[in-house]
């Protein structure tokens, strides 16, 4: 093969940065290959995203048809359609409903082998999740986008900075989503079974991230509170608002900056929680 694989790499003592970058890259690659194995699941998942795309798009367009000025939440119909269809792809790219690997490993005791590795668990899991992100970008955005473009009129970006800003926003959303999921899964260190918190997450994330309806349709004080006080809008709503150019450029950049703050805060919190957990962890199983 000759390519990188998940085997132990030689860590060069003289060049620690290069070593850690290579290790991180290898972990990203293995995360990518893990998802590339399940081609049928990719097709099945896209089919489901597309069905829900139709359901949500028709309902929102019917709301727009009855709304004053035809712009519910300040979106025109093309913006709403883009919001729904790109959202259906972005949902998997951001990985809001990723598999509960960490809590399963805590429950089974496999997490012990994660702790033996020379890479911090938060870093290793983040790398694997970015591999998943890359795979999803290449496979899961296309289906909903094509179907959406065939059956509905989508909004085409008019500003030069929209697409690059959307890319940055999508990466930040993925890191934010990873941070949230890591924290939810980490409750298994204390609860042993993270199923309850996971259900709570699945539920609140979909609504509060803007999957079911754009959060701008909520009363303004509530939308602002969500944006500032919770990481949820940064998971879907912000990148989608950037793409459909819902706000003036400066405000868009501000929203992405807010996303970045949340991403950093969440990663720091993950490290802290992991650190605390390692001090009290009793390895399950045997």
């Amino acid at each position: 093969m000759g390519g990188i694989d998940a085997s132990v790499l030689t860590i060069s003592p003289g060049r620690p940065l290069r070593a850690s970058v290579t290790t991180f890259g290898a972990l990203v690659g293995s995360g990518f290959r893990r998802y590339a194995t399940y081609r049928q699941a990719t097709i099945a998942g896209s089919f489901t995203n597309i069905v829900f795309g139709f359901l949500r798009c028709y309902v929102l367009l019917a709301v727009a048809a009855g709304a004053v000025g035809g712009r519910p939440g300040g979106y025109d119909t093309a913006q709403l359609a883009t919001f729904v269809w790109v959202g259906q792809g972005l949902l998997t790219v951001v990985g809001i409903w990723g598999p509960p690997d960490l809590s399963d490993r805590i429950r089974s005791g496999d997490v012990a082998s994660d702790l033996l590795r020379p890479v911090a668990p938060v870093t290793a899991y983040l790398a694997a999740d970015l591999g998943r992100f890359l795979h999803a970008v290449l496979t899961r955005m296309i289906g909903p986008l094509i179907v959406g473009a065939i059956f509905f009129t989508l909004a085409v970006p008019t500003r030069w900075q929209t697409v690059p800003l959307f890319a940055v926003s999508a990466v930040l959303a993925t890191i934010g989503s990873f941070g949230c999921r890591f924290l939810i899964n980490a409750t298994a260190y204390w609860l042993h079974d993270a199923r309850g918190p996971l259900v709570l997450w699945t539920l609140s994330s979909g609504l509060l991230a803007g999957l079911y309806f754009p959060l701008r349709m909520l009363p303004e004080w509530l939308a602002v509170t969500l944006w500032v006080a919770t990481p949820f809008p940064g998971l879907l709503q912000t990148p989608l608002d950037v793409l459909v150019e819902r706000d003036p450029p400066v405000q868009q950049a501000g929203l992405v900056l807010l996303q970045a703050c949340w991403a950093v805060a969440l990663l720091a919190l993950c490290r802290l929680v992991q650190h605390r957990a390692e001090r009290k962890l009793v390895v399950q199983g045997g």
Binding site: Y38, Q40, A41, A44, G45, F47, T48, V51, F52, F54, L55, R56, Y58, V59, L60, L61, A62, V63, A64, A65, G66, A67, V68, P72, G73, F151, L191, H192, D193, A194, R195, G196, P197, V199, L200, L203, S204, G206, L207, Y212, F213, M217, L218, P219
Partner: protein, 266 residues
């Protein structure tokens, strides 16, 4: 009687395992309630922007949402966990189930009967009842009967859809989330007046797959409204009958699937 004893034992095991993780169970009970609450909240949020969606007012829409919620949560509680069939097939758990001298479907149901969904069912029924009151329905004997039969028929219909989509795993283990398009997707479809959907999409879901008869048609009959899409008034009263062919097809596909099943050998 021996059979019933076996099912009671399965259920008892399940209850004891829940008692071992009380915090998680309590959270699950509330989160499951939350999922249906949020569906209803979504309807309210959408109606903030407009008074009429697809020609129907908020109260009228809520009747469809409530009818769907009551029926869906009933089906989801009883047979919803059949979704896990993919996992049972892949891991070989189904082999264990097959060699026991009990029927397969009831075993799978009792192995993981999710009592955490009880609160949610209660809420679904509450929304339906509230919507019935809010709409000032002109009660007749036929409407009263329909009001009781419709959510049960909806539950049976969704149950059949759960079994049908789960059966896909007998032929295609990696079918992943496709089933959700028709179970959860079907629920989302019937939660709104079907006038909102585009022509071919509505024809497919409402008439070819039968979802239009689950909540929309019975709701029209209860409200005494004529169908803007042109079905006659009696269609709403006949609509619950759609559960019968759905169950027949689901039973046929399930039976064929069980006979077709080959162990994965793991």
């Amino acid at each position: 009687m021996g059979e019933i004893g076996a099912y009671v034992a399965l259920l008892g095991g399940k209850l004891r395992s829940m008692a071992a993780y009380r915090t998680s169970f309590a959270i699950e009970l509330l989160s499951n309630l939350g999922s249906t609450v949020l569906d209803v909240v979504t309807v309210f949020v959408l109606y903030r922007a407009t008074a009429v969606v697809g020609g129907f007012s908020l109260a009228e829409s809520l009747l469809m949402t409530g009818l769907t919620a009551a029926g869906f949560t009933l089906a989801d509680m009883i047979v919803g966990n059949i979704d896990d069939l993919k996992r049972y097939v892949r891991t070989g758990t189904l082999d264990t189930v097959l060699i026991r001298p009990l029927r397969v479907l009831p075993q799978l149901i009792f192995m993981d009967l999710p009592l955490r969904k009880l609160l949610r069912l209660a809420f679904g029924i509450f929304v339906y009842a509230a919507a019935l009151v809010a709409n000032h329905i002109q009660w007749t004997a036929a409407r009263a009967l329909l009001a009781v039969v419709a959510p049960i028929a909806a539950g049976v219909f969704f149950g059949a859809i759960f079994v049908l989509t789960a059966s896909l795993a007998f032929w295609w283990v990696e079918s992943g989330e496709i089933g959700a398009s028709f179970t959860y997707g079907g629920r989302d479809f019937t939660s709104y007046p079907i006038t909102v959907y585009g022509d071919w999409f509505r024809d497919l879901f409402a008439y070819a797959l039968g979802f239009g008869l689950v909540a929309y048609q019975p709701a029209l009959a209860l409200l005494g409204r004529t169908d803007p899409l042109g079905l006659p008034a009696w269609a709403g009263y006949a609509a619950p009958l759609v559960a019968a062919p759905a169950v027949a097809i689901a039973a046929l596909v399930w039976g064929t699937g069980i006979r077709h099943y080959r162990s994965t050998g793991s």
